[in-house]
């Protein structure tokens, strides 16, 4: 692997936004293959961060700093990826369901997913059920992520999934749910494809859902 990509990965792990921005720019200037910069530089760095986080060697702030550095690189790569017709990790629509104003957990999941290279469409909080499904279909997303903190709003998730089943005729969009009152069993009960117990787990589960490592 080229030294410059190695450096992108290293500075990304240190959470050095400016350096990653600078090095990605250099790599593009040196006519590196866009996909190579993405895979061997940015995503390679994030994968190491993910592993270290899982082993408790680093903490959430370190991951978030690295994620921020990842955006700095991605912002420059994005137009090139589109131009070259390269598929990134994919799109995800995310939101806290209708009736629920708690979005801290959902925001965290958003940061982590973006950090892992996904394109995140964050619909915010108190999002009506139809809006999730319509956005997902219009934007051709791979996954819908639903969040709720209240036991009273959990049921809205079921509603979203029911609507999706009707409208998504090709059955190609997956759903993942999360939030303090939820459980794996509840997710299964309402027909969600996956459940995540925290933000790092959400990234793993989404990757599993769409079949990437």
């Amino acid at each position: 692997m080229d030294i410059i990509l190695q450096k992108i990965s290293e500075y990304l792990q240190k959470g050095d936004e400016e350096k990653v921005f600078e090095l990605t720019k250099q790599a593009i200037g040196h006519n590196f293959d866009t996909k190579e910069i993405l895979d061997n530089g940015l995503i390679a760095g994030m994968n190491i961060i993910g592993e270290q986080f899982k082993k408790h060697e680093i903490f959430l702030p370190d991951v978030l700093m690295a994620a921020k550095a990842m955006y700095a690189g991605m912002d420059q790569l994005k137009p090139l990826l589109i131009k070259d017709g390269i598929q990134g990790m994919g799109k995800i629509v995310l939101g806290t369901v209708h009736g629920d104003l708690h979005d801290i957990g959902k925001n965290l999941v958003g940061i982590m997913l973006k950090g892992a290279g996904f394109e995140v469409i964050d619909l915010g909080r108190d999002v009506p059920a139809e809006k999730f499904v319509d956005t997902a279909l219009n934007e051709q997303v791979k996954v819908i992520g639903l969040s709720a903190l209240l036991t009273t709003t959990m049921s809205v998730m079921k509603e979203v999934i029911s609507i999706l089943k009707v409208k998504d005729t090709t059955n190609s969009i997956k759903t993942i749910v999360g939030g303090a009152p939820l459980s794996k069993d509840y997710a299964k009960e309402i027909g969600a494809d996956a459940y995540a117990y925290d933000s790092a787990n959400a990234v793993e589960s989404v990757k599993e859902l769409i079949g990437v490592n």
Binding site: H56, F59, L60, N107, L108
Partner: protein, 488 residues
């Protein structure tokens, strides 16, 4: 502010000390060792048969020459334990007769292999400041069972050693091992490597062995911890103050002997008193009153300007259960708040008679938490608060704020894998482990991840030679097999 706990008023402390001094002057103390009696007599102490009667003047002089603080240094000569002020240092409970086998959960006699595993683990435990000769290997001649522990400790773990001799004859080789590590008696004096426990016998007695050990240590300026063990309601008054008076008198007698033998000998004002549970005829170390006596005599030691020690933060449970956790953490918390300088207990179960490697790794986390606790609550870049709170409102979280990154690891203590803080789904996904299973895994991990200390090949050779010679003196031609892959 460092949080501090107090049980006694200065007025009560002074009253206890006055009473203890009067006991030493009027009742005196029985000493069953001719060398010590001659030494005391030569220094003007009145001796009648085998009883020594001190004067207030002699006691006060001894208290003046005993150092206010000292440090212990590891085998490489680096400072490892600062025994001053309210500093706290944890050390494993020592001299257990048994070990709770971490594989079979059987309580049995420990062997060389157990001892090496123990030393390997202690070497890596972050919140355990020194090692102790924690149990007695049963696979060597019992006449070398004390020196053999120190030998293994020095070979496998870099931390200073809390130890002691069971026999008068053992002192010589145990002293020589220390000189081998330090290269000379002078360096050993400058950088103490061990503390020797010297125990008076309640009530008001010194045995031949322990009093001889005491003056032998003093001769080489090897630090001594006095372990007086009055038992409330049995061989001491049932009241806590009464027990404290007896403990003070017994401890002062040791201080006087050490300072008359060699003024300036470093000492720890220690002990292992306990209440006596008349229902079971046992001496519970996990009893709250035992812990209160410990904290209180530590206050007396501090009042006298001396560094302190106690056997606290251990448990009477027979296995690694909730009782083990609650008694140990209660003791560690009280000891830390009291500022006991050397806190001995981690790993120990069953009235100081059984060590457990699994409990040791759990206790390491308890020590870590209490070490955090005594750092207290201090303002750090907290005033004015508005700029940071404005950042919070803008960013919606402070997870990657510079303020968080600067202070996170200092403000929050992160325990290791033994303590589980995962949410339930994650805990389930990671195997729904019990504390016992996590502690077991940690023990296995630490035994595997051990790396040899930096002790030189020459010193290793010298230690082996000293130990083999000592073993041969008692007819043991060969020492048990050790994993000597890193040794000569």
């Amino acid at each position: 502010m460092r949080p501090k706990l107090k049980f006694l008023t200065d007025e009560l402390i002074q009253k206890i000390i006055n009473e203890a001094i009067e006991i030493l002057c009027k009742i005196g103390i029985e000493i069953n060792n001719q060398n010590v009696l001659s030494l005391l007599s030569g220094k003007g102490v009145r001796i009648k048969k085998s009883r020594a009667y001190f004067t207030e003047d002699i006691i006060q002089k001894a208290l003046k020459t005993a150092p206010n603080s000292f440090s212990l240094y590891d085998v490489n000569g680096n400072e490892a334990n600062d025994l001053s002020g309210y500093n706290i240092n944890f050390t494993p409970g020592s001299a257990a007769l048994h070990i709770l086998d971490y594989n079979t959960q059987e309580i049995r006699n420990p062997t060389t292999k157990d001892y090496i595993n123990f030393a390997k683990i202690v070497n890596q435990l972050k919140y355990i400041a020194s090692q102790s000769t924690a149990f007695i290997p049963s696979d060597v001649n019992e006449k070398i069972s004390d020196s053999y522990r120190l030998f293994l400790s020095l070979l496998y773990c870099k931390k200073p050693v809390i130890t002691g001799a069971f026999r008068i004859e053992s002192f010589e080789v145990m002293k020589n091992m220390q000189i081998a590590v330090r290269s000379s008696g002078k360096t050993l004096k400058e950088k103490p490597l061990t503390v020797f426990s010297c125990c008076p016998t309640s009530p008001f007695k010194w045995s031949d062995v322990t009093s001889q050990n005491l003056i032998d240590c003093a001769k080489y300026s090897i630090p001594i911890e006095f372990i007086s063990m009055p038992l409330s309601g049995f061989i001491a008054p049932v009241t806590l103050v009464g027990t404290l008076i007896q403990h003070t008198a017994e401890t002062l007698s040791g201080i006087v002997i050490s300072q008359l033998a060699n003024p300036g000998t470093p000492i720890l004002y220690g002990g292992s008193p306990a209440i006596f549970d008349i229902r079971y005829e046992t001496t519970p170390m996990g009893a709250v009153e035992t812990m209160m006596i410990d904290c209180a005599y530590n206050e007396i030691g501090k009042y006298l300007g001396l560094p302190t020690q106690a056997y606290i933060s251990l448990s009477d449970a027979k296995q690694l259960d909730a009782q083990a956790g609650l008694e140990s953490s209660m003791g560690a918390t009280l000891a830390a708040l009291s500022g006991i300088n050397m806190i001995a207990g981690p790993g120990m179960l069953d009235f100081e008679s059984c060590q457990s490697l699994e409990k040791l790794v759990l206790d390491n986390e308890i020590c870590g938490m209490t070490l955090r606790m005594v750092k207290g609550i201090e303002p750090k870049e907290d005033f004015p608060a508005i700029p940071l709170l404005q950042e919070l409102l803008k960013e919606k979280h402070l997870l990657i704020s510079k303020h968080t990154r600067t202070h996170l690891k200092l403000e929050h203590f992160f325990p290791g894998q033994v303590i589980n803080r995962a949410n339930r789904p994650r805990w389930i996904e990671e195997g729904s482990t019990s504390l016992k299973e996590r502690a077991h895994n940690e023990v296995e991990k630490l035994i595997t991840s051990y790396e040899p200390t930096k002790i030189s090949k020459e010193i290793q050779k010298e230690l082996i030679q000293l130990m083999e010679t000592e073993a041969r003196r008692y007819g043991q031609e060969k020492l048990p097999d050790r994993d000597l892959s890193h040794c000569v």
